[in-house]
């Protein structure tokens, strides 16, 4: 056809088309009178126009102009699941922007309606600041179903990362919120199953919003697996291996997708180094290769590698089991706490500890030091800082590392991992610090103290011996620097029972300090001497040593010092040991009141001062209210300063529970015991003495409340633990036997009961003496039993 002919045809066709039948006929007769071909062509076109064609005519229906009360404004985007328009509520006094989503024509087939119903029902349950809310659902006048969702003004997550250049912390904080939102949905039994950057929008305020729960499905009510492999769509690049293999999906499927997102946020690229548009290669890589660490692409801490790779585990069981768990690990990383994704090693724990406290105030640092290994560490720090800042700083680094490795979290008994890390730290120090003997000696001194904290007295003595040797060579034999190691060795020797050696070391140190140290050094040496000779039975000598320490501190104007409070406590202990509780209490009280002035509120040292005073008041006076108040103060401080699971807090809880049992407040005591036992296997090793003691107390409470049958199990457990950890003739085993006997007796097992009651009493009498209160109480229980 030539162009002119076509033009002519077009003109006539267009002119004829709008005309009614009669007018059209007249027009065509006039126009095409002499051109039958043209007439035929136009008539053909007109009839073709009327006839139509299914395929040509099904194209691109115009977007609906309205969806219920919502006025459609512009296209936001189209994807596999539907077409989304920006809309506003037409009949509202104030305009509200919403997103209206229609399913793309030709999509979905028969389950469109049910899919929409499902989406509606699910989304209505999800009210969360980081989830785009479902506002409405309905159908257009033509029957096209639509959803109305909160309109989120924001950029896609990947674009946000690329263009907003958020810092690592910003990225992780945002990611955490995302995890929280997913966890929230999971708690509502909703799995998203299509989490991807396109479904995460970041608002201008930096808030993430999870959109499009188009393929979310309800979890089974029992929280288990979903209803098998689904027909619903997912996005290959963010699909978990089990999704692509058609296996059942669960909440860990979303965890995997979150892992991909985290990986992309960290590394700026997809963990699978294949184009998802080449599905075969992509799936092969997904199924067979582990992703490389994100830190290969961008400088990142190892913890983040571990977190991302754990979330991306091919095996669902090896992933985080919930989005919550993933969120918590990210939070831990942000707080410089050990993350669960990293294999637990003492060195790693140490590292986190150091990082956590790097920026902390001097107060926190001192608290940490005194926490980890007692006042001795602070003494090191202070002593060195006065002389040379560099030594102090470098020593501090090592001290922190090693003391924290030997942290109280290791529980009772020998912690092999911690000890091994100390061993290697000592070796490392020998290697790295060869050219800095002054630091080397200080570090060995700190390691020795850490061994002391673990109760590894042999190792402590050996290590301190080395420190002493180096210090003597570097600073001189009688130098105060060397004397400090002598004092530490005294503690080690005291611990292993070499009281003679300990006394010798203490005296030698005292002499050295009197020549070239200061009053604080002298006081420490005197305290060491005093506590050693107390153990040797010289109560009077001990009292004199501690009083001397106190008077030297007083002369130097140092009564208001932490060291002075320690001295006061030592003196009180000596007096208490001598059976002079009434004299001891004022010293404990003075120590407690001093430390309260010296330390900021909530400092753990205040709890350390309150605890012995409370115990003494409870045991030797009738000032129960004051005792109870001190117990509670210690608990409150330790809870806030140390967290809810620290062993020190557990001790406070136990002591208070014991006190409450004596006060017959069994209900409250029972609660405290339960809280302690919740840490069993956690911060309290299974064989930690507190576990057995708390079980024992639980049994006693049950007995006191007349629930003898319920006393048996905890008492049996306590007995088993104590037999496992104590010498067979220990009085604690005997006491447990006696109480268990009572429980048996009270639940009808009289023969067993009598046997245990007799055995318990016999052993108590043998180990503590027949007149000891505990032995007498055991006898009383036996007699009561026999009397019934």
């Amino acid at each position: 056809m030539d162009r002119d002919r076509w033009k002519k045809l077009e003109t006539v066709f267009e002119a004829a088309l709008p005309l009614a039948e009669e007018a059209r006929r007249l027009y065509l007769e006039q126009t095409a009178a002499g051109d039958p071909d043209l007439l035929a062509s136009v008539l053909g076109l007109l009839s073709a126009h009327e006839a139509g064609n299914e395929y040509l005519d099904r194209q691109s229906p115009p977007p609906p102009s309205a969806a219920g009360p919502y006025r459609i404004e512009s296209l936001i985007g189209r994807g596999g699941m539907g077409t989304v328009y920006l809309a506003s509520r037409a009949d509202d006094r104030f305009e509200r922007k919403v997103a209206v989503k229609f399913l793309a024509p030709g999509l979905g087939g028969v389950d469109v309606a049910s899919r929409f119903l499902r989406e509606h029902r699910i989304l209505a349950k999800l009210e969360h600041p980081n989830i785009a809310r479902l506002l409405d659902a309905g159908a257009t006048v033509d029957g096209v179903p639509f959803l109305v969702m909160e309109y989120v003004e924001g950029v896609r997550l990947d674009q946000w990362r690329r263009e907003g250049r958020p810092t690592l912390t910003e990225r992780l904080t945002l990611f955490r919120k995302l995890c929280d939102a997913v966890a929230f949905a999971h708690r509502a039994l909703v799995v998203h199953r299509d989490i991807k950057p396109a479904n995460v929008l970041v608002t201008p305020d930096g808030e993430p919003k999870l959109v499009d729960f188009g393929i979310a499905k309800l979890l089974d009510a029992d929280g288990g697996e979903l209803t098998g492999p689904s027909r619903a769509a997912f996005t290959l690049a963010y699909a978990s291996p089990e999704q692509t293999e058609g296996h059942p999906v669960s909440t860990t499927t979303d965890v995997y997708a979150l892992g991909v997102i985290l990986y992309e946020l960290l590394a700026g690229r997809h963990p699978v180094d294949r184009d998802p548009a080449q599905p075969a290669a992509f799936l092969h890589a997904l199924a067979n290769g582990d992703p490389v660490k994100p830190s290969v692409h961008e400088r990142l801490p190892e913890d983040l590698d571990a977190i991302a790779l754990k979330a991306l585990s091919r095996e669902p069981a090896l992933r985080y089991q919930s989005a919550d768990e993933l969120a918590r690990d990210v939070a831990r990383f942000l707080d410089n706490r050990p993350v669960s994704a990293r294999p637990p090693s003492a060195f790693y724990r140490t590292l986190k500890f150091v990082q956590r406290h790097r920026a902390a105030s001097a107060f926190a640092l001192a608290a940490v030091l005194s926490l980890a290994a007692g006042a001795f560490a602070a003494f090191w720090q202070a002593g060195q800082a006065r002389r040379e800042a560099r030594i102090a700083e470098e020593t501090n680094r090592f001290v922190l590392e090693m003391l924290s490795a030997a942290s109280p979290y290791s529980g009772g008994g020998r912690d092999v991992t911690v000890a091994a890390s100390l061993d290697s730290a000592v070796r490392r120090a020998g290697f790295e610090l060869k050219d800095a003997p002054e630091v080397h000696a200080a570090v060995l001194g700190a390691a020795g103290n850490a061994y002391l904290g673990l109760g590894l007295h042999e190792e402590a003595e050996k290590t301190l011996e080395m420190a002493l040797g180096i210090a003597r060579e570097f600073f001189g034999a009688g130098s105060p620097q060397a004397a400090r190691h002598l004092l530490a060795r005294a503690a080690a020797r005291q611990g292993k029972g070499d009281l003679e050696g300990a006394e010798r070391d203490s005296r030698e140190a005292l002499t050295a300090f009197e020549r070239g140290g200061d009053p604080q050094d002298e006081a420490r040496a005197l305290n060491s001497l005093g506590s050693t000779i107390l153990l040797r039975g010289d109560v009077g000598g001990s009292e004199r040593a501690h009083r001397e320490a106190l008077s030297r501190l007083s002369a130097a104007g140092l009564l208001e010092s932490v060291l002075a409070t320690a001295t006061l406590n030592d003196l009180a202990v000596a007096l208490g040991t001598a059976g002079r509780a009434a004299e001891a209490i004022p010293f404990h009280r003075q120590a407690y009141e001093t430390i309260r002035r010296l330390r900021p509120p909530l400092h753990p040292d205040i709890a350390n001062g309150a605890s012995p005073l409370a115990a003494l008041l409870a045991d030797h006076t009738d000032r129960f209210d004051e005792a109870a108040q001190l117990f509670r103060e210690a608990i409150s401080i330790r809870r806030q300063a140390l967290g809810n699971s620290h062993p020190d807090l557990m001790w406070s809880l136990y002591n208070y529970a014991f006190f409450l049992v004596d006060r017959k407040d069994y209900a409250r005591a029972g609660e405290l015991v339960t809280e302690v036992l919740a840490q069993r296997g956690g911060t309290l090793a299974a064989v930690h003495p507190l576990v057995a003691a708390s079980l024992f107390l639980r049994g006693r409470i049950a007995l006191e409340q007349g629930r003898a049958a319920q006393a048996i199990v905890p008492l049996e457990e306590a007995l088993a633990l104590r037999r496992q950890t104590l010498k067979p003739d220990h009085w604690l085993i005997a006491t447990t036997l006696s109480w268990l006997g009572q429980a048996y007796g009270a639940s009808g097992r009289r023969r067993e009961g009598e046997s245990l009651l007799r055995q318990g009493h016999k052993q108590l009498a043998a180990s503590l003496g027949p007149d000891h209160p505990r032995a007498r109480q055991a006898l009383q229980r036996l007699e009561q039993f026999l009397a019934h």
């Binding site: 162009r3 064609n53 194209q59 691109s60 985007g77 994807g79 793309a104 689904s230 290959l236 080449q278």
Partner: protein, 193 residues
């Protein structure tokens, strides 16, 4: 991709030639990627595919609405090639077999819903080639509408013409096509080859 669109927009005709292969392969890739959905009974219409290609390829911040329209114009052409290539394969495969009812077939190795049976796609393609011989613009309008799933407004923007013109073009071209294709009706058996 965005750069090319901007260049094309500002009158660089070479840009279109560079644009086309990229869009073509992106469409194929997307359709293949959607295979994973297809296995679950989920296919994409050409329209959806073109939109996805756009969302994927073009930086929305730099591309204005004209860029968008031009992209869709190019994508329609690429889509036409994709569909025709696959209609050819499909058609070849069908010869000798029984002739099924021609509903909306799915191209087997792509999660792509054909806008029409392969025979019809091939006939339209052939007819459009002829139409382009004397009215390129109308052929283009049909291509954008039929293969690219574009709306008249979008086509008007892509062709820098008015909405009314596009409407008229479509009406005329549609009638001509229906006439040229003969009396093929949806339920007719396919022409046997």
């Amino acid at each position: 991709m965005t750069e090319l669109l901007v260049r094309w927009n500002s009158g660089d005709p070479g840009a279109f030639d560079e644009l086309l292969p990229a869009v073509y392969s992106e469409l194929l890739n997307l359709a293949r990627a959607h295979m994973m959905r297809e296995r679950a009974g989920h296919t994409l219409s050409p329209t959806a595919l073109v939109h996805e290609a756009y969302l994927k390829l073009v930086d929305h911040n730099k591309a204005d609405w004209r860029c968008r329209a031009h992209f869709f114009g190019a994508a329609s052409n690429a889509m036409r090639r994709v569909l025709v290539d696959h209609a050819k394969k499909k058609f070849a495969g069908k010869r000798g077999g029984s002739s099924p009812k021609l509903a909306m077939p799915v191209v087997e190795d792509l999660a792509l819903e054909m806008p029409a049976p392969p025979e019809f796609v091939l006939m339209i393609d052939e007819a459009l080639n002829r139409l382009a011989g004397w009215d390129e613009r109308k052929a283009k309008v049909v291509e954008m509408k039929f293969f690219g799933g574009m709306t008249n407004v979008e086509i008007a923007a892509a062709l820098s013409s008015s909405h009314a013109t596009v409407e008229r073009d479509w009406t005329m071209a549609r009638a001509w096509l229906i006439q040229a294709l003969g009396p093929t009706q949806p339920d007719d058996p396919a022409p046997s080859g």
